[in-house]
């Protein structure tokens, strides 16, 4: 086997892989490992939330009562649809239908944007009512019954903020994928970046699936 030319797998196989299959498997494993770190990072927040929720159930209930579950459920639906279109874009690429994939990718980006807009409405309403994390919480304005209600909003803003950051990063990545799809760089032989970003995007969806009942409903 030669050191830097490739007899098969198109032009996308790096020199240290045997073939496209080898590269795909390795890349995918790397992505899954990265997802483990995402789960553990968000997980730290979930564990903290669960512990303090069990210590101060009433304070958490008060915090949750200020959230609008309709906004939360709407956002859940938006993310589900975006996950669907993301998965479909890979389906199309595998079948060689890169135009359809391109469209699906853009729909995903638009869904992400809708999610962020709804989130922005939610945030601004929280800001207006003085519902802010920690000592920024306006106790007088919110008529908070619990002096440390700021902790609930600490969790709320940390979790949704970190999640929102992931949505933004995901949108950026998907736009990059859409551009590359348009350039015809992806096809049935090579779609690893799309697969990877897809898994990332679904993780974002997955985390929201838990955040929604945790923050908005159970409280």
């Amino acid at each position: 086997m030669s050191t830097n030319s490739h007899s098969h797998g198109g032009g996308h196989v790096a020199h240290h892989f045997r073939d496209a299959e080898h590269q795909f498997d390795s890349g995918k494993q790397g992505i899954w490992l990265f997802m483990v770190t995402e789960i553990l990072m968000f997980g730290g927040l979930f564990v903290g939330y669960a512990i303090f929720h069990s210590l101060y159930p009433k304070m958490f209930a008060e915090g949750a009562s200020h959230l609008d579950w309709r906004m939360g459920s709407l956002n859940t639906l938006v993310l589900i649809v975006s996950s669907y279109t993301m998965a479909m874009s890979i389906h199309h690429l595998q079948k060689g239908e890169s135009n359809k994939a391109f469209t699906k990718l853009w729909i995903t980006v638009v869904c992400g944007a809708i999610f962020m807009v709804i989130k922005a409405f939610e945030y601004s309403s929280k800001f207006q009512h003085g519902l802010l994390p920690g000592h920024l919480l306006d106790v007088a304005k919110t008529h908070a019954e619990h002096a440390n209600l700021g902790m609930y909003y600490g969790f709320y803003f940390c979790m949704t903020g970190l999640h929102g950051l992931h949505v933004l990063i995901g949108m950026g990545l998907i736009i990059w994928l859409a551009i590359r799809t348009k350039r015809g760089e992806f096809g049935p032989d090579y779609f690893l970046p799309v697969e990877g970003v897809g898994i990332f995007w679904h993780i974002v969806d997955l985390i929201w699936i838990f955040l929604f009942p945790l923050l908005y409903l159970v409280g």
Binding site: D19, A20, E21, M35, Y84, A87, F210, P213, L217
Partner: protein, 116 residues
């Protein structure tokens, strides 16, 4: 982990499973319906029954089912290599470890009180 063998034949064949569109569509609808269930149960438990111990377990059970659907189909873990399934599950195992031991500590502390 040491047991998996080198089975890379070196051929350029691509046997990636293409998940049919209709599965994706069904999963999406299932997720939407389950979200409706979540909201419905929330309404039932909080507005009709004014709180119930079941509220949280039901909400998280539904969330777990939804998560499983996303994992298996959208993320394709159902069709993926077993080692990737193992890798992904370790994240949850170690998270559970962190959670269980922190809870163990916090709820077995003997609280001392001031006697002044």
């Amino acid at each position: 982990m040491g047991s998996h063998s080198d089975k890379h034949s070196g051929g350029g064949h691509h046997s990636h499973h293409i998940i049919p569109q209709e599965i994706y569509t069904r999963v999406m609808w299932a997720l939407i319906v389950l979200t409706a269930f979540t909201v419905g149960f929330h309404y039932l438990f909080h507005v009709v029954m004014h709180g119930s111990v079941l509220a949280a377990p039901v909400a998280f059970l539904i969330a777990a089912i939804k998560a499983a659907l996303v994992l298996m189909f959208f993320m394709g873990l159902k069709y993926d290599k077993p080692e990737n399934r193992w890798i992904f599950s370790t994240g949850f195992i170690f998270l559970a470890l962190l959670f269980v031991i922190c809870m163990l500590d916090i709820f077995t502390r003997i609280s001392e009180t001031s006697t002044l």
